[in-house]
């Protein structure tokens, strides 16, 4: 343990603790702009400087470990003055457009400027005009607002192993951009949006499509319906000051109706359908030896994009089952429309997702038009939903509870945990076990695949055969898992895993790129806990037991993996080695 003093307060912390973290233990908050709690320090902003007694230099609290006997001062006139000047310099290189910025009110730079009471522009502004990158339709980069903190680059390169963004040039010309004067869409970007979730300013944001939805809602020729993704229910409250993990499912149903949606569906229902299809697929491959193992989940669009670009040798292993978003879309425009006698051409499907890549998924392949129309018309993120709710004048938190619309609204505990890493695997195992054995699992809780460890492994005994599963989240964790499979294949050995779940974002969808700002591991844990609570609270916790799902197959799809199910609920993948690596 390291013993030292911070602002004359004794602190004791484990070796290697930074001054920044140590200070928190004595309720001292050292301001910083570039340091993100979960990321490595980039040491870029220079705001977190402090002074050690006897040293004439100021040191960065974010990356300097506390040492025995240090006597740290975090705030005195000189230090605050240097911080202020540095902040003014950063502001002099940033457009003064707070009022029209998507991050207005949620910007870390704006907050710091307010905290430091910066009330004039002493230093002449210099911002190099650069047009924004809107090429992906998912993520918008406004280069002028970038403060070069390096978070997005670290996230893109190290957390996600995508390498779409990098620092180019140097000095005052240093810029964060897709490398090689190409657009983000031409880059290896998989639209996961983790860059936007970690950006301290409005430099990287989701492509805001709220206006499109307002217009659709006011269009008398459109029947607007909506679906909400599993994780959104436990995160949207954060935008309204509630703690992460607060489950607002029923208030959301209520609010969405007030916004003008004619029907409110739950993506969780489609998640149950996905599980029924995917578990059946697994049984086909595992028990009937038809198809490649391991089976790999495909409901994360960033992951499928990443796979198609970098790991296309696993295409045969991918589950062909569509993601819940797309399943719900196609079922609404076929099954639901048929049952209610609505012209599917008039149905306008909006999905509320934790995810920026879901915007991209809408037009991913021709299978996304299986209903004969665009199955999902527009996808918005949790952040965009929060913005709409705030605009609408609805007192969201005081709303009475409501239920989802039937046919595509009921969900099980298995569907809801889709939103957390390991959830798809856990839900699939519950159903696959039943399909293979005709019996229900003794304990439905598959603890081994829960939690935030990058790669999780577990074994489930099915009819005497151990089924080995692996769960990876955060794309940088994928390669190891896949390489293990590749090596076994090369060596002619048995596959190390039968079933692999991958989610692009750390923590799964609850840590999605479109979730309310301020994500860190603590929040991820709390959000996931909210979903697991929802699972526990549900009477029905296995997808195949969902009465509406049973009805769907009985009245519309026949059986899992039927021709009709294949036509509507499955998709294909194409190798797209844009960037050979």
């Amino acid at each position: 343990m390291i013993k030292a003093r911070i602002n004359d307060l004794p602190v004791e912390v484990p070796e290697g603790t930074t001054i920044l973290d140590a200070a928190r233990q004595v309720q001292v908050c050292i301001p910083t702009l570039c340091k993100h709690r979960d990321l490595l320090s980039t040491a870029a902003c220079g705001i977190c400087i402090v002074r050690n007694k006897g040293g004439n230099k100021m040191i960065r609290a974010c990356c300097t470990p506390l040492e025995n006997g240090m006597e740290i001062t975090t705030h005195d006139r000189d230090i605050v003055e240097v911080r202020r000047s540095t902040l003014e310099l950063i502001l002099s290189n940033h457009p003064n457009g707070c009022l029209t910025c998507e991050r207005n009110g949620e910007c870390e730079l704006q907050k710091l400027a307010a905290d430091f009471n910066i009330n004039q522009e002493a230093i002449k502004r210099y911002v190099k005009e650069t047009p924004p990158d809107t090429s992906t339709g998912s993520i918008v980069i406004d280069f002028t607002k970038c403060i070069k903190c390096g978070r997005c680059i670290q996230v893109c390169q190290e957390m996600q192993d995508v390498w779409a963004l990098s620092f180019l040039e140097r000095g005052i010309n240093t810029r964060m951009a897709p490398a090689g004067d190409i657009t983000l869409a031409e880059s290896p970007c998989v639209k996961c949006g983790q860059c936007s979730a970690h950006c301290p300013t409005g430099a990287i944001v989701e492509n805001d499509e709220t206006q499109t939805i307002w217009e659709a809602l006011h269009d008398p020729n459109k029947v607007c319906v909506v679906q909400i993704a599993p994780s959104v229910r436990v995160t949207v409250g954060e935008a309204f000051g509630l703690p992460p993990g607060t489950n607002l499912t029923r208030k959301l149903y209520s609010a969405l109706r007030r916004l003008g949606f004619k029907a409110v569906f739950d993506t969780n229902f489609a998640a149950d359908v996905t599980i029924v299809e995917e578990a059946s697929e697994f049984i086909e491959r595992f028990a009937h030896k038809r198809g490649a193992l391991p089976l790999i989940t495909s409901c994360c669009p960033s992951w499928t994009d990443f796979m198609e670009k970098n790991h296309w040798d696993f295409i045969d292993n991918f589950s062909t089952a569509k993601s819940p978003q797309q399943m719900l879309g196609v079922l609404a425009k076929t099954y639901y429309a048929e049952k209610l006698g609505i012209d599917p051409a008039k149905l306008y499907m909006v999905s509320i997702m934790p995810c920026t890549a879901k915007k991209y998924e809408l037009t991913r392949t021709e299978e996304m038009y299986a209903s004969g129309f665009k199955d999902v018309d527009v996808a918005i993120t949790t952040r965009e939903l929060a913005r709409m709710l705030k605009q609408s004048g609805i007192e969201f938190l005081s709303l009475p509870d409501a239920e989802a619309d039937s046919l595509l609204g009921d969900y099980t505990g298995a569907g809801t945990i889709f939103g957390a890493t390991g959830g798809v695997m856990e839900a699939a195992v519950r159903t696959a076990y039943f399909y293979a054995t005709g019996k229900k699992l003794k304990s439905l809780d598959l603890e081994a695949v829960r939690g935030l460890q990058g790669v999780k492994e577990g074994t489930v005994d099915i009819n005497g055969t151990p089924v080995r599963v692996a769960v990876a989240h955060g794309l940088a964790n994928v390669e190891d898992v896949l390489n293990r499979v590749r090596e076994a294949q090369k060596a002619g050995k048995e596959t190390p895993y039968h079933f692999i779940e991958v989610m692009a974002c750390p923590g799964g969808c609850i840590g999605g790129g479109g979730q309310p700002y301020g994500v860190d591991n603590e929040r991820r844990q709390k959000r996931a806990a909210g979903l697991y609570q929802d699972d526990r609270d549900k009477q029905i916790r296995c997808s195949h037991e969902n009465p509406e799902v049973i009805r769907l197959y009985k009245e519309f799809l026949d059986k899992p993996l039927s021709t009709k199910a294949h036509h509507l609920l499955h998709t294909r993948y194409t190798a797209r080695p844009l960037y050979k690596r």
Binding site: A44, K57, R60, V82, L89, N93, G171
Partner: protein, 660 residues
């Protein structure tokens, strides 16, 4: 060369009769640019034409940049003579006159700095030069007078009177040097000529009233072999410079601990600028538990106006390599890198060759000299980033990344190249090492001040008479360096300030010229030692322009990683630009100071922390110049910064050159 054994090497240590005669042409970048290759060719041609046999050798540079190309000649019966500005024509003259007729060449001979106080050999040459104001030179008159006087005494056969190119003594009126003894007389008047001839030439008596007694302020340790050995020849280094004797000693007689102890006794501090004790760096690196360790020679000499490292690498690469091998031995390292600027192709070529030669001779590679110690090194080229002089950035660059510095700790000595303990030493630091190991730390520590031991090489440039490399003991004053060694300000203008430490340093005004130079004193004056660039500025130089020049350099070279440096530097430059265009405001100076402080305190690496120094130090000593710009407005600015004037001249000259 076949691999050497310690016995072979020891044999080289015994003096084996120096060569009787040679012509050494100093071929470093400066010399070559001034025409040294042409001179070399002419030497050979004229020599062969005249059936002479004197060897014409290639060596490195003594550092007399002002006299490039420089050539040294040794002939039986004559003292060793350095010649400056040796064109092809002069080269021919040297063969025909100096070599064949034993007569020195007027206007090119350089006086020796080894000035003695007694005449022990008969005088054979009298060098003479008027070191007063250039306009009314009395050199020729004195040459004539001396010749007349010698004629009268019938000494003309024996004694030649030569107009010298440079006396090494300045502002001392007519200076006379008697060769071969090196006795030097200053402020010689016409009336003294007869006395000098009758007393000193005829009777070998020294005239005390004229005798220049100041000892040579220069001590050559780093530059000991520069201009003495052929940088492309290991043989030269072995036979003439006690080459690799320090390594033999260390490997056969010393432990790594003993080597570090010797370094500690020497008090040598890093010559790259920060002045960290070299022994401590080695000890820290050696103390880390690791299977591998690296030693890197930092030859990324990016300071504008500094060329010490280039000169040493070009003139004496083996000394630096030997220093590196010794460092590696002291800390148990097996791999080394020379990180050299790509702008220095000659240095790169010579170091590469030295590595090949050392490897062949078994001085590099596995089991060096049979000691069981193995070490090898390779060269990496800088790709044009000043910030890579910073240790962590240099490491990133070798690892193939953007050369951005990273936070310390961890320090490179703990976690450096490839995550392994790494010691990074500057070229000059390493060049000192063999001398220290050979002669002992105590010997080295005899020079210098209490806290700053040894000598330091400076590259003195700018508005100075004799731009050159200077090696002096720490504690020598700026005045000694600028005036006594380099001859003072160009065109005898008044000195305004001396800039030390390059873009990280500051200006030191004339009132502080008597400050003894050391790491500490320079820092107190708001500057730094840096790597040793020294820029002399005269009264006409605008200090604001100077600050702007250095700041622009830092802005161009900022890696852009951290906000205070990236934006702070840029914004300061905008303000300085405003001021020098006469469009500054009274508030600007205050904002400048604030940005300076933010950059100093909040920048991540040394580049950003020191980049405001040129601005701060000019503000400290010359704030009135800033104010004058601001109050004087654009017309004043045009006058002072000479924009209008410069542009006009350029136009005319350009036109004149283009239209025939």
């Amino acid at each position: 060369m076949k691999p050497l054994t310690p016995t072979d090497l020891e044999a080289y240590n015994r003096p084996n009769g120096e060569m009787k005669e040679w012509i050494r042409v100093q071929l470093d970048t400066g010399g070559i640019a001034a025409g040294a290759e042409e001179a070399l060719a002419e030497f050979t041609r004229v020599r062969d034409e005249n059936h002479q046999t004197i060897p014409v050798l290639r060596v490195g540079s003594v550092g007399y940049s002002f006299a490039d190309p420089v050539v040294e000649v040794k002939c039986p019966g004559l003292p060793r003579i350095l010649y400056g500005q040796v064109s092809a024509e002069v080269a021919g003259l040297i063969i025909r006159e100096h070599v064949m007729k034993k007569r020195l060449i007027d206007d090119h001979a350089i006086a020796t700095r080894q000035r003695r106080l007694t005449i022990d050999q008969p005088v054979t040459q009298i060098l003479v030069r008027d070191t007063g104001a250039d306009l009314s030179s009395k050199t020729e008159f004195f040459q004539f007078t001396f010749v007349e006087e010698l004629k009268r005494r019938n000494l003309t056969e024996r004694v030649q009177v030569v107009r010298a190119f440079d006396m090494g003594v300045y502002h001392e009126g007519v200076v006379v040097q008697l060769l071969p003894s090196g006795v030097t007389y200053t402020n010689v008047l016409a009336a003294d000529v007869a006395r000098i001839v009758t007393e000193s030439v005829a009777k070998k008596r020294v005239l005390d009233d004229l005798l220049f007694k100041q000892p040579n302020p220069q001590v050559r340790i780093v530059l000991r072999n520069c201009g003495e050995v052929d940088p492309d020849s290991l043989e030269d280094y072995l036979t003439m410079a006690r080459g690799y004797q320090a390594l033999r000693r260390a490997l056969t007689e010393m432990t790594p601990e003993k080597v570090i102890a010797e370094m500690k006794a020497s008090g040598l501090r890093g010559r790259g600028g920060a002045g960290f004790p070299t022994w401590l760096k080695w000890q820290l690196t050696g103390a880390q538990k690791s299977a591998e360790r690296y030693v890197i020679c930092n030859g990324d000499e990016g300071d504008p106006g500094a060329f010490m490292d280039r000169s040493v690498l070009e003139s004496d690469p083996h000394s630096v390599l030997e220093g590196m091998i010794l460092a590696a031995f002291a800390m148990g390292s097996t791999h080394g890198y020379f990180y050299i600027r790509a702008e220095y192709p000659k240095a790169v070529e010579r170091v590469e060759r030295a590595l090949v030669q050392a490897r062949e001779a078994g001085l590099l590679g596995k089991n060096i000299l049979g000691s069981g110690f193995s070490f090898d090194a390779k060269v990496r080229l800088g790709a044009g980033a000043f910030v890579c002089g910073e240790e962590t950035a240099l490491i990133a660059s070798i690892e193939g990344k953007r050369g951005s510095p990273s936070p310390r700790p961890p320090y490179p000595s703990v976690k450096g190249l490839w995550g392994k303990p790494t010691a990074i030493n500057n070229v000059e630091t390493l060049a000192n090492v063999p001398a220290i190991i050979l002669n002992g730390g105590a010997w080295y520590a005899k020079n210098g001040t209490d806290a700053s031991k040894g000598t330091k090489v400076f590259a003195v440039t700018g508005k100075v008479k004799n731009a050159q490399l200077v090696e002096v003991p720490m504690g020598t004053t700026l005045r000694q360096i600028v005036f006594d060694i380099c001859g003072g300000v160009l065109d005898d203008k008044d000195l305004k300030a001396v800039q030390t430490g390059g873009p990280s340093g500051g200006v030191i005004p004339d009132k502080h010229l008597d400050t003894p130079v050391s790491y500490e004193t320079l820092q107190q004056l708001g500057s730094i030692m840096g790597s040793g660039g020294m820029l002399v500025m005269d009264k006409t130089d605008s200090m604001v322009e100077v600050a702007k020049f250095y700041l622009r350099f830092c802005v161009d070279e900022s890696c852009g990683k951290c906000a205070p440096c990236r934006i702070g530097g840029y914004q300061m430059l905008q303000i300085l630009d405003r001021i020098t265009r006469g469009r500054g405001t009274a508030a600007d100076v205050g904002i400048l100071r604030r940005i300076c402080t933010a950059m100093q305190k909040a920048s991540l690496c040394g580049l950003g922390q020191t980049a405001p120094n040129p601005v701060l130090s000019t503000l400290r000593y010359f704030e009135e110049e800033y104010k004058a710009y601001i109050e004087g407005g654009p017309s004043y600015a045009r006058k002072i910064s000479g924009r209008g004037q410069t542009v006009e001249t350029t136009k005319e000259t350009a036109k004149a050159a283009v239209t025939p």
